[in-house]
Structure formats: structure tokens, C-alpha cells
């Protein structure tokens, strides 16, 4: 059976970590090419948070009490960290829908029959989503500056805040991956990927001051992983409305955000890869 041994030699397994990274990048490239060829998806992904910025700033600004003032300018600066964080989490739905579509079209079967690293299809997808998220954040930051948002800290701190935001977004795409692998159609993945994000992003410090919530709701909001990232960003941007609550994540938001993100990645990546390996259409 010389033909057999030849084929095996072509694909002799190298260093598994190296292979995993390489395969992930190949899949990421594929997803980035797709994004470039379906620009509508990227454009709507950018338009949506811009709408939030404009609507929240002009509709709610002036009626929100942040740190004892209802000044619209203060609310705008307060709001931006929340919108940034909400934007990165919405990438979840895209990841879920993309993976569900691959399942639906039989592409996952093809990938699973190839001698490639097991997690690479999912890692590649989440990495491509990370690139899209970064692009969205960049455009959004420019819009935010136009409506009057300013940072009052060093460039290093501002960059650190954006780093935390990207990490949070990356962690959430793994939740999207699990959703995408669990539903039967891409449509279900889109709505299923979005619906739970509303309570998560609204029962938080993103749009209102948590001090004004009823105590039980406030506790949930303060321990919400999402709130930790928002609080960390406000602190790192030097924006108003930083919570003075003595809840641990509000006292140490950068650490809390980091820990939450790493935990989410560990748990949901494990779940997603396990689901991928046993996926059946």
C-alpha cells in the first residue's frame, strides 16, 4: 500500500501548537475574505453602535443623573464606555451565525474530515471577528470624539482600555460559537445570539448609574462581567460616573474584567470545541 504511506508522509503531523496556530490563521483568513466580500455585514455592524451613540446622547442626555449632574456633556462622556463595551459583545451574534451557517452548508463536515487542528475552525472564526470588532471600535471612537467624548488620561491607559474591550469581545464570541453549534439554522443563531445580550448589557452600569437601581438589581449589575469592563474603561479613560460601590469588581475593575474574560474563554472554548468534535447536522 505505497499510496497510503505517501499520503501519510505529505501530512506528517508537526508540532501540535504550531499546527493549531497555522490552521487557525488559515481559517481566519478565509473568514476575513468572506467579510470583505459581504461588506454589508461589516457596515451594519458599524452603523448600529453609531445609532446607539447618537440616540442615547441626544435622547437621554440631559435627563440622566450622573454623579449629581444632569449635564448632557457629562452623560456623553459617561455613555461612551458603555457603548464601546456593548458593541464588542454584539460580535457574539455574528460568530454564532457564521458557525451555524458553516454547519448548515456542510462545510463543518469537510473541515472535520481534514487532518487539521481540532479547535482551528472555531479559533479562526473568533479571530476574524476580533479583527472586525477592532475596526468597528476604531470608527466608533472617531464618531464619539465628534459628539464630544474626550479622554483625560495617558495614551497608555486609553490603549489599555481598548485592549480590555477587545479581550471582552473575544471572550463573548466563544459564547456565540457555542450558540452557533447548538442551534439548527443560521437564523436561530442570529436571534439566539442577540436576545440574551439585552439583559446582560442593560442590567449593568453601561447606560445608567447603578446607584439608582433597587438593591437586588444593583448587586446583579455590579457583579455582571460586562459591568467590570465598563467600569475599567471609565477609569482608564478618566470619564465621569465611576462607581464608588464597595463590590469587589467595582473596586478592582481591570482585574475583574481580565479574570471574567479569561474564565469565559476557558469555559466556552472548551464547550465549543467539544460540541464541534461531535457536531452532527
Amino acid at each position: 500500500m505505497s499510496a497510503v504511506t505517501d499520503a501519510v508522509r505529505i501530512a506528517a503531523p508537526g508540532n501540535p501548537i504550531g499546527q493549531s496556530i497555522r490552521d487557525s490563521l488559515i481559517v481566519a483568513k478565509r473568514n476575513l475574505i468572506r467579510m470583505a466580500r459581504i461588506p454589508e455585514v461589516v457596515i451594519f455592524g458599524i452603523v448600529q453602535p453609531i445609532m446607539f451613540v447618537v440616540l442615547f446622547s441626544y435622547v437621554f442626555g440631559g435627563s440622566m443623573n450622573i454623579g449629581g449632574t444632569t449635564s448632557p456633556q457629562v452623560y456623553r462622556e459617561f455613555l461612551m464606555a458603555g457603548i464601546f463595551a456593548q458593541t464588542v459583545t454584539f460580535a457574539t451574534a455574528g460568530a454564532g451565525a457564521g458557525i451555524a451557517e458553516d454547519m448548515h452548508k456542510g462545510l463543518i463536515d469537510r473541515f472535520r474530515s481534514l487532518p487539521m487542528a481540532r479547535g482551528a475552525v472555531l479559533t479562526g472564526r473568533t479571530l476574524a471577528d476580533l479583527v472586525q470588532t477592532a475596526l468597528t471600535l476604531l470608527v466608533l471612537a472617531v464618531v464619539a470624539l465628534l459628539v464630544g467624548w474626550r479622554t483625560h488620561t495617558s495614551a497608555g491607559e486609553v490603549l489599555a482600555a481598548f485592549g480590555l474591550l477587545l479581550l471582552t469581545g473575544y471572550a463573548f464570541t466563544w459564547i456565540g460559537a457555542v450558540i452557533g453549534l447548538s442551534v439548527r439554522t443560521p437564523e436561530a443563531a442570529t436571534s439566539g445570539g442577540l436576545v440574551w445580550l439585552f439583559p446582560v448589557t442593560f442590567v449593568s452600569n453601561a447606560f445608567v448609574d447603578t446607584d439608582q437601581m433597587t438593591p437586588w438589581l444593583r448587586h446583579i449589575a455590579e457583579w455582571n462581567p460586562f459591568s467590570a469592563t465598563v467600569q475599567a474603561c471609565r477609569e482608564l479613560f478618566g470619564n465621569p460616573g465611576v462607581s464608588t460601590s464597595d463590590a469587589w469588581p467595582m473596586q478592582h475593575p481591570v482585574w475583574a474584567s481580565l479574570i471574567w474574560s479569561v474564565l469565559i474563554i476557558l469555559v466556552f472554548r472548551t464547550l465549543a470545541v467539544r460540541k464541534y468534535r461531535s457536531a452532527t447536522v
Binding site: M1, A3, V4, D6, A7, V8, I10, A11, A12, P13, G14, Q19, D23, I26, V27, K29, R30, I33, R34, R37, I38, K105, G106, L107, D109, R110, F111, R112, S113, L114, P115, M116, A120, S278, T280
Partner: protein
């Protein structure tokens, strides 16, 4: 030594449904096995088990000499799979699709690119190489999918209903490609609902029904099981039916009461089981001529795989049916019963 594809007692249950109920297969190296059966017979589930996509509840499988359930990764390096749907990325060009698959087979980028160009040429896709697969017709997508399965020239190939949904011209083209491939020594397991396809491409045919292999053999062996060849005569005048029927009785292998000569009055058709081939047919024609019996049609009819399926399972292959036209008194009755679906181009 077991063949290049070997399965023993594969069992897989989904909830209450026993998709596989003890499938045994053995495909010698360099041959083609056609897995023939209606929808839901267990063809796709068998392929998924053998290609590492699905773990059976019980059973053993060896592909290219490697245990499928113990070393799935090693098996993946030695197989190519073309699934039931053309699994290509619509938003990637033909070239990008093949290049990606090559790289995921762990080829270097340059080698993958060269191989992609080669395959595009071979599969008549070179002109469309830089268009996205979304613009391809159904036949082109199928060819691209098949090319993707062949990137590393794997010694063992699996094709799950490769021509489902293709028009006759594209089907013929794909058959030519498959024949070429097999002549190069690849071992192939092919599933199909189309009896004609199995007859055409496979050395051996395994008939599956309700998760089991209910018969296996060459096309000829299977046909022999349903009673060998028959002579079919259509007379011109209704009053000649009697005389022709008496004549055919003389050549018949069996008496009229043992499933021998059969008469279909309204079609003026008389059929009887015989052995003796073309020589016998010539003799019958002479005898008919001597008796002045004018005929519209005469032929030696070998049982089709449709007949085989019907006699083995007691029901027709479910994909057939709406197209039940009989092939006159043709030589060997191929070309029947296949629904010619329109090619889906979007």
C-alpha cells in the same frame, strides 16, 4: 488481509431510530463499492462513521489499514470526502477554496496553490478559477467539491451521492472524472440512490436497507439472483399472441405455471425466461419468421437493478417511482427510473 475499507458490525442509534443495524463492508484496494439504497437506508450514516465524522455505538472499522476509531487523525490524512452537499465556501473563489483545503491538509502555501491550479485544469474549472463559487452552476460546484476531496490524491475516497441533483450532462461528466480517478488505483466507496449509477461505476454493489447490507455482489451476480435474462416479444397482430406464446414456451426455462411465459394482452407482449443469449434470440426470430408472425419489437432483457432491489426488499427504491417508464425491449435496460432534476444554478 482486510481491504482498504473494512467495517464490521457497525451499529448507530439516534434516539429510537436504528440508523445502522450491523453494517459489514469490505472493499479491496483499488476497487469501487457502490452502496445502494433508498433514502434513510443508512448510506450517509455509514459514510460518516467511516470518515471519522460520527462514532458508532458498536462496531469496528479500518480504513487504509488504520483503525478509524483509535487513530481518527491518521485516517483523515489518508481519505478524501465528498459529502452529500457541495461543501465549498460560496464567497471564496474556486482557487481559494482548493488552496485552503490544501493548506488544511498541511501542505505549504506554495504547494497548495500549485495543486489547486492543477485540479482546476483537470476539472474544467480553470476559466472560473477566480470567480466566487456563488456564481457557479450546480455541476461546477459539485466538481469543485470533488476536486477539494482530491487535493492530496488520497488512496481512499468516499463520495456520498455525488450526482444527486445534477442534470444528465453534468452527471455524465462527473462519471468520467470518477472513472478516471478509479483507473489510477484509488479505492472508492460511493453511495447512490441511482441503480444506473452503481451499475455504471462500481465493481461491487452492496444493497442497504434499514441499516443493513441485505445483498452484495457484482452487478451481474445481483441480477442473476432475480432470475437471469428474458426474451421479450411484441407481436404486430393481436391474433398472433397465441402462436407466439406457444413458440416461446418451447424455449422457456420454466413452465407457464412456474413463472415461465407471461403474456400482456393489451401490449401484445410476451416474455419468457431463457438462457442462451444472442444465438437463441436469432433462432427465435427465424422461427417467428417461418410461422409468418410479424413482430414490432424483440429483445433480450436482462434484469435491471430496479428488479433486483424490488425482489430483495419487497419495495421499490424510494427515490424512483414518478418516472416509471419501461425501456422498451432494449438490450440491457439501463437508463430507467432516474428522476432528471434540473441543475440548481443560482
Amino acid at each position: 488481509m482486510p481491504g482498504a475499507i473494512y467495517a464490521e458490525g457497525l451499529v448507530k442509534t439516534f434516539g429510537d431510530v436504528k440508523a445502522l443495524d450491523g453494517v459489514d463492508l469490505d472493499v479491496p484496494e483499488g476497487t469501487v463499492l457502490g452502496l445502494l439504497g433508498p433514502n434513510g437506508a443508512g448510506k450517509t450514516t455509514s459514510v460518516r462513521c467511516l470518515t471519522t465524522l460520527l462514532r458508532p455505538d458498536r462496531g469496528k472499522a479500518v480504513v487504509a489499514g488504520i483503525d478509524v476509531f483509535k487513530q481518527p487523525d491518521a485516517v483523515r490524512r489518508s481519505i478524501g470526502l465528498s459529502g452529500q452537499f457541495a461543501a465549498v465556501d460560496e464567497y471564496l473563489t474556486g482557487r481559494e477554496n482548493l488552496q485552503m483545503v490544501g493548506q488544511l491538509y498541511q501542505m505549504r502555501a506554495k504547494a497548495a496553490k500549485a495543486r489547486a491550479d492543477e485540479l482546476l485544469e483537470q476539472f474544467h474549472l480553470a476559466d472560473a478559477a477566480d470567480r466566487t463559487a456563488k456564481t457557479y452552476s450546480g455541476g461546477m460546484r459539485r466538481r469543485l467539491d470533488l476536486a477539494a476531496a482530491l487535493v492530496v490524491s488520497p488512496p481512499v475516497m468516499f463520495m456520498d451521492e455525488p450526482t444527486t441533483g445534477l442534470d444528465p450532462r453534468n452527471r455524465q461528466q462527473l462519471w468520467d472524472v470518477i472513472k478516471q480517478l478509479v483507473s489510477g488505483g484509488t479505492t472508492l466507496l460511493l453511495t447512490t440512490q441511482y441503480l444506473e449509477e452503481a451499475d455504471h461505476l462500481a465493481h461491487d454493489i452492496a444493497v442497504v436497507d434499514h441499516g443493513r447490507v441485505i445483498a452484495q455482489g457484482t452487478s451481474d451476480q445481483l441480477k442473476a439472483r432475480t432470475g437471469g435474462e428474458r426474451v421479450e416479444v411484441v407481436v404486430h397482430e393481436r391474433e398472433h399472441i397465441q402462436a407466439a406464446s406457444a413458440l416461446l414456451d418451447r424455449f422457456s426455462l420454466r413452465g407457464p405455471d412456474q413463472g415461465g411465459t407471461k403474456v400482456e394482452e393489451h401490449m401484445r407482449k410476451i416474455t419468457t425466461p431463457v438462457s442462451g443469449g444472442a444465438k437463441l434470440l436469432a433462432e427465435i426470430i427465424r422461427e417467428l419468421d417461418v410461422r409468418g408472425i410479424e413482430i414490432d419489437d424483440i429483445g433480450l432483457r436482462r434484469p435491471t437493478l430496479d428488479d433486483v432491489f424490488l425482489s430483495l426488499t419487497g419495495h421499490a427504491a424510494e427515490a424512483e417511482g414518478e418516472d416509471g417508464e419501461q425501456p422498451g425491449a432494449g438490450q440491457s435496460g439501463t437508463g430507467q427510473g432516474r428522476p432528471h432534476r434540473k441543475e440548481a444554478a443560482t
